[in-house]
């Protein structure tokens, strides 16, 4: 076995951190899409990731669909779940306040988790890696091909979303709803549809995160909550509502965890990430890239 150098160790931590961080970033983007349109922090976001992974396993492994067919089908199914979430749990709420919405999404996530437990049981499931499991070596560090898929999909999502929000009228309409729902409806935008769309979009992104991470870390019914918390951390670290912030927040969180585990004390790696998060908040109360106004005047 070859000797491992400190530099290659650092490289490995970085690669691992960025991979895990990419998943956090995807969850965080999902948070932001919904938050921007509705000001809701959707704590069921992690469940989309879980559903993405498990439905993909079902379609690809159990039902035997080819990867290219199972992938879009999974996204569609999870998107439907996102729409149901909006229709059944969020839009019926008549007097929404931040707290009731938080609890509604928590309630919904409990239900989704419960249903998943009934469908798939409590065991973890595996998904074959998209392009095999032969690791690539880079500067003494090891990269699983699947890591590249994770990073690649993050980039694809970012590009697609940028195009969507910058270049399409629907994207603009969604930003308009986020800013001023009344004014948006006065130009003919159906705000409810936009909210539904935001849930669909973020569910779809969650599904992608779930599909791409399952070959690395397996997936089971109760994985969602932890991912939701990490994603929420990433959102807040980057600044609520900011997409670049979400990506930055996710990647930073993942990297701190990885370096913290490798260099300092692996038992406290989550704590390091959170301490950094707290430090950032205490210095910049609106996150790294957030604007101060967003956080103002939110009452519970």
């Amino acid at each position: 076995m070859e000797k491992i150098t400190f530099a290659s160790q650092l490289m490995q931590y970085l690669i691992t951190g960025l991979t895990v961080g990419s998943i956090y970033a995807m969850v965080a983007i999902g948070f932001n899409i919904i938050y921007n349109v509705t000001e809701i922090i959707n704590f069921a976001q992690g469940e989309f990731v879980m559903l993405g992974g498990l439905i993909m396993v079902f379609l690809h492994v159990a039902a035997g669909l080819p990867l290219l067919a199972a992938f879009p089908l999974t996204i569609i199914l999870v998107t439907l779940a996102g729409m149901l979430l909006d229709r059944l749990a969020i839009s019926p709420i008549r007097q929404p306040s931040v707290l009731t919405l938080i609890i509604a999404t928590i309630g919904a996530s409990i239900i989704i988790k419960g249903i998943a437990m009934f469908i798939w049981g409590k065991d973890p499931f595996d998904l074959p890696a998209f392009s095999g499991r032969n690791p690539i070596h880079l500067m003494g560090a090891v990269i699983q091909p699947q890591y590249l898929w994770v990073g690649g999909f993050l980039i694809i999502i970012v590009i697609l979303l940028t195009f969507f929000f910058e270049k399409t009228i629907i994207g603009k309409a969604m930003s308009a709803c986020a800013e001023n729902p009344d004014a948006a409806s006065l130009v003919g935008i159906n705000v409810k549809h936009m909210i539904l769309l935001s849930f669909s979009l973020s569910a779809a992104i969650g599904a992608v995160a779930g599909i791409t991470i399952t070959p690395i870390s397996l997936m089971e019914y109760d994985r969602g909550a932890m991912l939701a918390i990490k994603g929420f951390g990433a959102v807040v670290l980057g600044g609520l509502g900011s997409f670049p912030g979400a990506i930055l927040g996710g990647l930073i969180l993942g990297t701190i965890e990885s370096f913290g585990a490798g260099l300092i004390h692996s038992g406290y790696k989550d704590a390091f990430a959170l301490i950094v998060l707290l430090a950032v908040l205490f210095i910049r109360p609106s996150g790294l890239l957030g604007s101060v106004e967003v956080s103002k005047f939110k009452r519970f």
Binding site: I41, A104, S109, I110, G114, V236, L278, L281, K298
Partner: protein
Amino acid sequence: MLRIGKLPITFFALFIIVFPWIARVIPGIGHYPDLLIFAGIYCLMTMGLSLLLGYTGQISLGQAAFYGIGAYVSAILTTTYGLNPWLCMIIGMIVAAIVAIMVGVPALKLRGHYLAMATLAFGIIVFIIFNEEVEWTGGPDGMSGIPGLSVFGFNFDTTEKYYYLVWFFVYAAFIFTINVIQSRSGRALRAIHASEAASNAMGIDVSRFKIMVFVYSAILASLAGSLYAHRLNFINPTTFDLFFSIKLLIMIALGGMHDIWGAIIGAFLITFLSFEWLHFFGEFEVIVYGVILLLIIIFLPHGLAGIPHIVKGWLRR
């Protein structure tokens, strides 16, 4: 809603006093006082949280940490150092208060979701410490052999004795909290909730009040933690995890967070739902729990304590 009548308070006290006797008579609920001990422990926390969240408008997702601090201070000082449990309880409250000040001063400058995340992070960090500092806390295996409580040779060793002890504390805290709500301080808190700018203009030191309430809720949570530890004679970290903080939030949201009664109703409801009533659903329990949460949030946005209001509305029509 704001004035809290004498009658319900007395009625409530009577109910608490006679309940163990009732429980003995009615078949099938003989173990309810046992549950009510935990409901009481949760009440201590929800009352603090109600004051913090419902009245002052500051969210905390880290209350479980203070609960844990109380429990662990009591556990460590009694088992490792053999101190008197009552003294440990007080030390626990002091420690919780100090931690609350240290966390609260920077954190309570944050707003909304940022405050939620900050308190959540604090809660997780404390949980990780409970889990990792095996030398002190016993790690995930927890600590056993925590002594029970006694005073001048009188042991609170049976369910009923402990029931009355816990509810004595709960009731005292309840009266204290009501008094605060109905006084200058309580008005200041509600003023902060309504408008921080105007409160400042009225000479209210907003940040000081926020911290004061945060500390108060931490002290109550710590007391609850100590009572829990001495009751169960055993603690482990999972009792004090993030999900418990969320559960507390759920309690006051379901009970009705703008009303101190809501805190109590919520604690009762969740205690009985999660420890007792949902057993009938077997493995469906989780789903039913989620559905109940959603239904209450959708149909009773002001929680169960808002029901009288709705009923009154119907009667008026």
